[in-house]
Symmetry: C2
Subunit: 164 residues, 2 copies
DNA sequence: TAATTAGTTTAGTCAAGACTGAACATATTA
DNA sequence: TAATATGTTCAGTCTTGACTAAACTAATTA
């Protein structure tokens, strides 16, 4: 039995999965290759992989892997792990990575609300109907800014029940 | 009094606002110029503008405005409006545009959950500990997929109180 | 119908940045 | 220390897509 998370039969499906994760994350502004690394680290066996393994499986240069793993570590999505009896560092999906992703959404929301407020200041002396557009945007952001933390907290609770 | 939403005194701030909206939306994968159009349409007076007005204010080509307004209409963020006594169509922020943005978030979440499920199928015959990473991702998405619609609904209610 | 104005389409330019190869560093093993 | 294996940095290539100029279409006015 192979150690790469797929019999050669399902190797095609595995690579297809990797590619689709790359596509999905690209839409969130993450470079394609970084997304592929995430995709592979989600399904590989063992769950940690060295830089050269990643380069080989994904058909990418060492340089690209080096740059993208650094980016992913910076984003707190990937972690380096030492593997006993192995020379160099390996990478794996950082536990709790997805919580981090969801938490970052909150930052975007806050930025949006703040920007809307700035816009409203520009319209200070204008009639209410002109402010309507921006008030709408502001209120959406403000609502989510208020609700989102509670949602995250509820997730933390649910999480402990669902996983492990 | 000028009709562009800013005295020349505050013209600089207005353009700065426009630029920042462009930057914020660019991070969501919307082209810079499209973001600028949104930014300007949020603060201009009157709230509807013709293609040539947009081109002039934003210092962009007619072609770019034409392409980007089409994109924004496609995304349901902007609408065409007829203005009595004016030759051609004008554009304005579509009322409820931000609701639409929030609703699209749900699509992303669903896609994420589905993709995680596909990954889990690939690991079907593997031990539970190997599935842990993906289960975590899946459960986060699943949680939001379940909670998000209720959140949107609560927003719809709050909205009617807050606005108008 | 000619002249003017408004907007779209097309073909092409340009810039950003993802990615690579090769030189360089660092550590491990012999 | 030499030889090998692993990873990083740098300089340059290549692709993508945002943007423009100019030709084209359509509508309005004279």
């Amino acid at each position: 039995m192979d150690k790469d998370g797929s019999g050669s039969r399902s190797h095609f499906e595995a690579m297809h999965f990797v590619e689709d994760v790359g596509l999905l994350l690209e839409r969130q502004g993450i470079p394609r290759m970084a997304g592929r690394i995430i995709g592979w680290l989600l399904i590989c066996d063992p769950p940690h992989q060295s830089a050269s393994q990643l380069a080989q499986v994904l058909g990418a240069s060492k340089a690209s892997i080096s740059t993208m793993t650094r980016l992913l570590i910076e984003m707190s999505l990937v972690e380096q792990v030492g593997v006993p009896g192995q020379r160099r560092d390996h990478f794996h999906i950082k536990p709790g990575a997805w919580d981090e992703v969801m938490r970052e959404t909150l930052d975007e929301i806050v930025l949006g609300r703040q920007l809307a407020d700035r816009g409203l200041e520009l319209l200070e002396r204008k009639p209410a109907e002109l402010k309507q557009r921006l008030r709408e945007a502001r209120e959406v952001y403000a609502f989510f800014e208020e609700e989102y933390p509670a949602l995250l907290e509820r997730w933390e609770k649910t999480r402990k029940k669902t996983l492990r």
